[in-house]
């Protein structure tokens, strides 16, 4: 058996064992099945929410908020990152604010954002944006400053304009670090959507988790939670694939 296959099989075995022990413990009343729930109840809740379409409605809301918040942070993050990377005074002036956002617990800011933007979509998008754009800025700055000066000189030697220098030399060379920043940003954006929905929304996967938990329907809580975990795994796989492609493309 190849090591890779052994790894996969052991992973499946471990997961199944975990689920079986959980199920048996609930059946034997070792743990309270209503409060803790168990895999068979969760499966039933999953089927029910698929049939009622509830989970799709929440998924749709969350995906739109995710796309809006992350899309905004990509545009702002890369633009600001290039501006900071190219111009030292700009970098020095904005840097303290970026590092404040990076190191402070943004979760604590959500009440202010609710006060400013109201309850719902705009607030969720704003929190998603705030959480994800900083890692994109920081990595774009590093990527732009990391460019080999020889490349820049070469483009200029052949009469390249400032714009051409950016497009032909700086951006291509900065891409790997920008992609790394986008990867971190994707994960943080998902955090932002969940955070925003849990505390200041009445729709979406994050809201649905708190809604069912407030009604003590534990099995129902696990349905949106499982979908969120799946989105997290999907994002991670996407990031891996993107980086693998990039490795192949890089000289």
């Amino acid at each position: 058996m190849s090591p890779r296959r052994e790894q996969i099989i052991l992973g499946i075995v471990g997961t199944l064992a975990f689920l079986v022990v959980w199920e048996i413990a609930a059946r034997l009343d070792l743990i309270n099945p209503i409060v803790v729930s168990n895999p068979s109840r969760i499966a039933a809740a999953f089927v029910a929410q698929l049939q009622s379409g509830e989970i799709f409605a929440d998924l749709g809301v969350s995906l739109v908020e995710f796309a809006a918040g992350f899309g905004l942070s990509v545009v702002v993050g890369i633009t600001l990152g290039i501006a900071m990377g190219l111009n030292r005074p700009t970098e020095y002036a904005i840097d303290p604010f970026v590092w404040f956002l990076y190191s402070s617990p943004l979760i604590a800011f959500y009440p202010l954002i609710v006060v400013w933007l109201g309850f719902g979509f705009a607030t969720v998008v704003a929190i998603t944006f705030l959480l994800s754009f900083v890692s994109i800025v920081v990595n774009t700055v590093a990527g732009v400053q990391d460019v080999d000066p020889q490349l820049v000189r070469a483009v200029r030697a052949f009469g390249g304009t400032r714009f051409e220098v950016i497009r032909k030399a700086i951006l291509p060379a900065a891409v790997p670090l920008i992609i790394a920043g986008l990867r971190i940003g994707l994960g943080r954006a998902l955090h932002g959507v969940v955070l925003g929905e849990m505390f200041s929304s009445n729709a979406g996967l994050g809201y649905r988790i708190t809604f069912h938990a407030a009604h003590l329907r534990t099995a129902d809580v696990f349905v949106p939670l499982t979908v969120l975990v799946a989105i997290g795994l999907l994002i991670n796989a996407l990031g891996n694939a993107l980086e693998a492609r990039l490795q192949a493309w890089r000289p």
Partner: protein
Amino acid sequence: MSAEAEAPSGDIALPFVMRFGAARPMIGAAAVTLFLLVWQIVGANEIIRSDLISYPSEVARTLIAMSASGELGSNLWVSLQEFLQGFLPAIAFGIAAGTAFALVPRLHYLCEPLIVVLNTAPIIAFVPIVVVWFGVGTQSKAIMVFLAAVIPILINTMTGIRQVHESWVRACRAFGASRAQVIAKAILPGALPPVMVGVRLAVGRAIVGLIAAEMYVSVRGIGRLIQVYSSSERAAEIFVLVAVVATFGFALVTLLRRLEGLIAPWSLEP
């Protein structure tokens, strides 16, 4: 030939980049001062409603008032206890499990899906279920801190031990070291730097888990205060609380770096 032609490579990234060698702190400080000044003028003169954005001098006054009344101290103490009740077990368990996984790969494969799930899922999504399972009190907060903190410590311990230079181990063996001596002299010192990085990473995640859990439901603690003042739209108090949480995280990471410098001075070398 002028000296400038051979400037250090860091300064010649781009020909049209303006060079400001020692200007970084000055420009940064000027920008922050300008920001605070504008904020003060706009807030204090009610150009924008000051209960929405507050202003620096009011935030400072509120900080002093909240400290003097003991409101800040007593709630910070509650949060700190919850934090330590989750974080210290996370360090112990993370290092123990990470070591076991590194030495026995099959054990790691068995638990890998669970670790991947905890590592990639947004950790705050687990807050409601943890509260349903462990109650609204201190215990659920400590569990959230544990869950958030344990994964980076575990993963970094595992990779840290795997990455210990083979040559160090062989060198120990060549001089007749026992298995215990190999672990004490080569593996532990080699793995310590990545473990410490994992612990530092865990601080930020644990704080988010703690504050989210306290905000979700709690009786006391900094997250509870944030929730209380947000429902009464008190911007100044919220800024104070944000600053307190940020300072706590910053202080803890600085402390950990100091500690690292004392017990493993080789790890802070670049």
